[in-house]
């Protein structure tokens, strides 16, 4: 596989994984939780390194999941104690992220080859060089394996708990009443988001991964009338944005991850303006017609 081929596959996998899991949090109206988690997982990555002294995939995924759940838990605890929801998110995510930044600025940062800029922006161009070698056999870039596993886990979890996710997202109280463990489902989705974030982290970084998590879901939400369509379409839009973004990044010689994230915004704008059901243009058209 060529160098650019790996980058394209990585981008598409990021788009699929983040798009699918992100659509769930858009539907649950907890999109800003994704913003928080995308930053706090950095603490999970550093923490995993401190414990295992390595930068292997599995400890990183576990560390990120733990910190992701911790983030959601702390935000909810503050909120229950009377702190406003958005303020709770702001307090928790900056504090945990700042802690990670402090740790990275010490000697640990040099050992993990992480710096804050890399953490924020990612660098998908380096992905093809960081390879998984097993018994001397080159199995391709590590990021592909990590993204592929997380995508598979997400699909299995969503398929398995589809009904529970659907009901608890639509009608929280009714879900409790018919015996759905709503808190468990909430943390399950939080975990999926954390996994998607950490797997995409190296490629697109903490800020741009938020675009991949939220924008495809928000776009699919405009275009679909069924939950399953939102999830699938969100994945497709994520992948498509990665392709469009890569094309323009090469054409204009600009940041690949930045271009991919911008593409999600572009696709969203198109859907917002031109979607045939209730896009802005069709609304204006109807208004004009009803007046005339």
């Amino acid at each position: 596989m060529s160098y650019s081929g790996w980058i394209i596959i990585t981008g598409v996998l990021v788009g699929l994984t983040c798009g699918i899991t992100g659509s769930l949090i858009v539907l649950r109206k907890t999109a800003m939780l994704a913003d928080a988690i995308s930053h706090t997982v950095l603490l999970g990555i550093v923490g995993a390194f401190l414990v295992t002294q390595s930068l292997n995939g599995l400890p990183m995924l576990i560390g990120a999941s733990i910190v992701g759940i911790l983030t959601a838990f702390l935000i909810e605890t503050l909120n229950k104690q009377g702190v406003q929801k958005d303020a709770s998110i702001g307090v928790i995510f900056t504090t945990l992220f700042a802690l990670a930044v402090v740790l990275i600025s010490t000697s640990i940062g040099k050992q993990v080859h992480l710096d804050t800029e890399h953490a924020l922006m990612g660098e998908i161009a380096f992905v093809p060089w960081n390879r998984l070698v097993f018994r001397g056999i080159d199995l391709g870039p590590k990021a592909i394996w990590m993204l592929g596993s997380v995508l598979l886990i997400s699909l299995v979890v969503i398929l398995l708990f589809y009904k529970q996710i659907k009901i608890s997202t639509f009608d929280h109280h009714f879900a409790i009443l018919i015996g759905i463990p709503v808190t468990l489902i909430h943390y399950l989705i939080t975990t999926l988001v954390s996994l998607a974030t950490v797997a995409s982290f190296n490629s697109v970084g903490a800020i741009l991964v938020v675009a991949m998590l939220i924008v495809p879901g928000a776009t699919a939400y405009l275009l679909s009338e069924r939950l399953v369509h939102v999830i699938v379409l969100s994945g497709i839009i994520g992948a498509l944005s990665a392709l469009i973004g890569y094309y323009f990044a090469v054409k204009w010689n600009v940041s690949i991850s930045g271009s991919m994230a911008s593409a999600t915004g572009l696709v969203f704008m198109l859907a917002f303006l031109f979607n045939p059901r209730d896009g802005l243009c069709i609304k204006l058209w109807r208004q004009l017609n009803s007046k005339g």
Partner: protein, 244 residues
């Protein structure tokens, strides 16, 4: 045997008492209207009974067993504004939710489940809208979808939170018809209701609530001008006395 036994329910929110020591028992086959001013804790009472908000104290028994053992006997119609009506789902899928306990959470809905959902939709006059995305329905139609979901639960006790609020005449009729059917089948219904004019027409029992249980009993005995003044303070005087 009592259908519902509520003892000493107290609820606080941010240390402010919302409900204080509510106790009453409900006989099967009765239609109870829960009446009280804004902020009296009517919705909170329903949610506390269902265990959806935490109680400071109190106990709920459903057909003589603790609620947790008999949860499947309870059907619930929440206030319409409590869910996101833009959610990507159609009417039939919402109704099917009422049957998920029977279907099982990890199994696909069978043909008879879908037929069951459609029967429930038909009973509230919404079968033609089964495939509609719920945001495309009017407020009254959305309320009827919730009713159909409650029907699909095939419960013994139904709790409804302001089902009559802001609905059209067709929906109002559908709700009244449903309550009559339920009563005829010895099912028990509790409804949070705010329109005092219709209380005597709709309900055979009334619970007057204002943080405390002012009184519970048959509409004939409880729904008196004197009791209403106790419940609403002086504010009831502007009401048409003839309806009371």
């Amino acid at each position: 045997m009592h259908a519902l036994e509520i003892s000493n329910i107290s609820v606080s929110y941010n240390k402010q008492p919302v409900l204080e020591n509510i106790s009453f028992t409900v006989a099967p086959g009765t239609l109870t209207g829960i009446i009280g001013p804004n902020g009296a804790g009517k919705s909170s009472l329903i949610k506390a009974i269902l265990g959806l908000i935490s109680k400071r104290s109190g106990e709920v028994k459903v057909y003589q067993k603790p609620l947790s053992k008999h949860k499947h006997l309870i059907g619930y119609v929440p206030q319409r504004n409590e869910v996101d009506w833009d959610f990507p789902i159609n009417a039939r899928d919402v109704v099917l939710m009422g049957r998920y306990r029977k279907i099982g959470f990890f199994k696909k809905s069978k043909k008879q489940d879908i037929e069951w959902a459609d029967q429930c939709l038909a009973k509230v006059g919404m079968l033609d809208y089964a495939e509609r995305q719920i945001s495309q329905l009017s407020g009254g139609q959305q309320q009827r979808i919730f009713l159909a979901r409650a029907l699909a639960q095939d419960a013994s006790i139904y709790l409804m939170d302001e089902p009559f609020a802001g609905v059209d005449a067709a929906t109002e009729k559908a709700i009244i018809q449903l309550m009559k059917d339920w009563k005829a089948n010895d099912k028990t219904v509790l409804v949070v209701h705010h329109d005092l004019q219709t209380v005597t027409d709709y309900f055979d029992h009334v619970l007057l609530l204002n943080k405390q249980c002012i009184q519970y009993g048959t509409t004939h005995h409880v729904f008196t001008h004197e009791n209403l003044e106790k419940t609403f303070g002086g504010r009831v005087s502007f009401l048409n006395q003839a309806t009371v």
